[in-house]
């Protein structure tokens, strides 16, 4: 037979005369590195052996040399290091991750952070919610200035809607938040386009509830017009 150890091939031969001495049973011959020379060496060593055995030995030798070549080629490339998983540790990590996720309350944290940033004015002038300032004003000056602040509110709301599309929908009938989101984004796009074309003084109320007080009287017909225009579009987008 043929065996290979540490990259070299050896031919092992067994003869019946030595069957009594198991230690000396196998005789070992080192084969040369050259493929053809090694084949010749096998031939001359196994010279009186049956043809079948010789053939088989040579086949085995071929196989061994081929896989040795392959090993040498692979070790030159990057090897993939297999690191065994530890089941207990995996389970523990998974469990801890789930608990951490629950403890994290990601949505709340993100919302809080965004509101913080809004308060600290990192967004600058994009979002103007004058109501905020007026809430503070209301708290400071008690009941007397309510009418004044109302008037101011309306004024500012007019400006607000003149410039931008964000008007607080106080009691919005939309219960489903996603639809509202899609409505918002699609409305924004529409409104942005339209606002570019048409000029300022057209106001638009996004919420289903009309604006407060005397402001209503100025704009109902305009409002109806635009609502009809935009609503079918938004409806198709929302559905």
């Amino acid at each position: 037979t043929l065996l290979s150890s540490s990259g070299r091939c050896y031919l092992y031969m067994k003869t019946i005369e030595r069957a009594a001495f198991p230690r000396r049973l196998w005789e070992r011959v080192l084969l040369s590195r050259n493929y053809e020379k090694a084949l010749e060496e096998i031939d001359e060593n196994l010279i009186y052996w049956p043809r079948f055995i010789r053939h088989k030995c040579k086949q085995r030798f071929t196989k061994i040399t081929q896989y040795l070549i392959r090993i040498r080629k692979l070790t030159l490339k990057r090897q993939r290091k297999l690191v065994p998983l530890r089941r207990k540790i995996e389970r523990r990590e998974k469990r801890r991750e789930e608990k951490a996720l629950i403890a994290a309350q990601l949505d709340n944290a993100i919302e809080k952070e965004l509101l913080e940033r809004l308060k600290q004015d990192t967004y600058g002038d994009i979002y103007n919610f004058p109501i905020h300032a007026f809430d503070k004003a209301l708290q400071q000056q008690d009941t007397e200035s309510e009418s004044e602040s109302d008037a101011e509110k309306e004024d500012d709301e007019e400006e607000d809607t003149d410039r931008r599309e964000f008007v607080e929908a106080d009691d919005s009938d939309l219960s489903d938040f996603e639809d509202m989101d899609k409505l918002e984004t699609s409305e924004e796009e529409l409104e942005e386009e339209e606002e570019v074309e048409k000029k300022v003084s057209h106001s638009r109320s996004k919420g289903k509830t009309p604006l407060k007080g005397p402001a209503r009287s100025k704009r109902p017909y305009v409002k109806i017009e635009y609502e009809e225009e935009t609503e079918p579009a938004t409806k198709t987008k929302a559905t």
Binding site: K77, R78, R80, I89, E93, K94, R96, E97, K99, A100, L101, A103, A104, L106, D107, A109, I110, E111, E113, L114, L115, R117, L118, Y123, G124, I126, Y127, F129, I131, H132, D135, F166, E168, A169, F177, E178, M180, D181, K182, E184, T185
Partner: protein, 324 residues
């Protein structure tokens, strides 16, 4: 004590015969040899405990109502975050040394807006479908990023090429059994390399109720809960992936939230419905990372100098000690 076992079967906690000195004979429930009876006694004991607890609660509530305003404040429940072992390297917001360090470390040019990040995303050999899709989605989330497939190229050879082509960061997503499970984030011009273990990756279509695709606007970045020095450096590394000036028109936000050493990544679109209310809608992939090691130079598994490795034996012993 000899009366104990039989006495328990018949009467529950019966007082001893008066001539005994022992008072009272507390037989513990675990001394009964019979399993059925033991179980029964244990259930009875448990019921009694529950009743006592309920009674105590009621009493306390009555007291609190009776006192009204003068009642002592409610005790705060203990959470793991409350009980966390204090880490000496926790960063104080006003710490000068830390501020000085951060002004001179490798991310300083980024934070001074001198460099714009350019990211290369790649995978390990032969990525499977999920990993490929995840890479694509990740590249839509991170602006100015490119995905390249690696067909057997060695990382050490890629890195000089990347530096030559002006990339600032390299992300390698390692894959195992068709799912991505590791992330190597390396800041290229001689920056630190962080090796994370990635878990629970959800692609965009697996997230329920997701919105539309993320647009090309630069998102904002939120980094939560990175308290220690190590956490700070990791946080800065993650923040340097995104360009520094977010476009608020896009209304997108990428969040890295650290909780008990797990970093959760989410990508949302937000809308301010009013002053006090904001709505968020999740779009984009989500995954969680756990830091395994932080190396000082670029990726080098053999000769690199490790700034921090997770050593399981030492670091996982206490349940209340976290490193990030």
């Amino acid at each position: 004590a000899g009366v104990g076992p039989q006495g328990s079967a018949t009467e529950h906690g019966a007082p001893p015969a008066p001539e005994r000195v022992l008072f009272p004979p507390t037989f513990s429930v675990s001394e009964i040899k019979n399993k059925q009876r033991r179980h029964f006694m244990f259930l009875r004991w448990k019921q009694q405990q529950r009743k006592e607890k309920l009674a105590a609660k009621k009493k306390r509530r009555k007291e609190r109502e009776a006192l009204g305003d003068k009642a002592p404040p409610k005790p705060i429940p203990k959470t793991i975050e409350n009980q966390r072992i204090y880490d000496e390297t926790t960063v104080d917001p006003n710490d000068e040394e830390v501020a000085f360090d951060e002004a001179t470390d490798e991310f300083a040019p980024y934070f001074n807006r001198q460099t714009v990040p350019k990211i290369l995303i790649t995978t390990s050999d032969r990525p499977r479908g999920r990993t490929v899709r995840f890479c694509e989605q990740l590249s839509t989330v991170i602006p100015n990023s490119h995905v390249y497939y690696r067909r057997g190229l060695a990382l050490k050879k890629i890195i000089p090429q990347c530096i030559a082509r002006d990339f600032t960061d390299l992300i390698v997503i390692n894959e195992d059994r068709k799912i991505p499970n590791g992330l190597v984030l390396s800041h290229l011009p001689e920056g630190p390399t962080a090796h994370f273990r990635m878990s629970s990756v959800r692609l965009r279509k697996e997230i329920k109720r997701t919105g539309k695709e993320p647009t090309e606007h630069i998102p904002e970045v939120i980094l939560n809960n990175f308290t220690t020095r190590l956490g700070h450096s990791v946080g800065r590394m993650l923040a340097s992936l995104f360009p520094h000036d977010p476009q608020f028109i896009g209304r997108q936000v990428a969040t890295f939230h650290n909780q008990r050493d797990y970093i959760f990544f989410r990508f949302h679109r937000y809308i301010f419905k009013s002053e006090k209310k904001v709505g968020i809608q999740e779009l984009g992939p989500r995954f969680t990372l756990k830091l395994r090691s932080l190396q000082k130079g670029t990726f080098d598994s053999m000769f690199g100098e490790y700034e921090w490795i997770h050593k399981r034996r030492e670091m996982d012993t206490s349940r209340r000690k976290f490193h990030l």
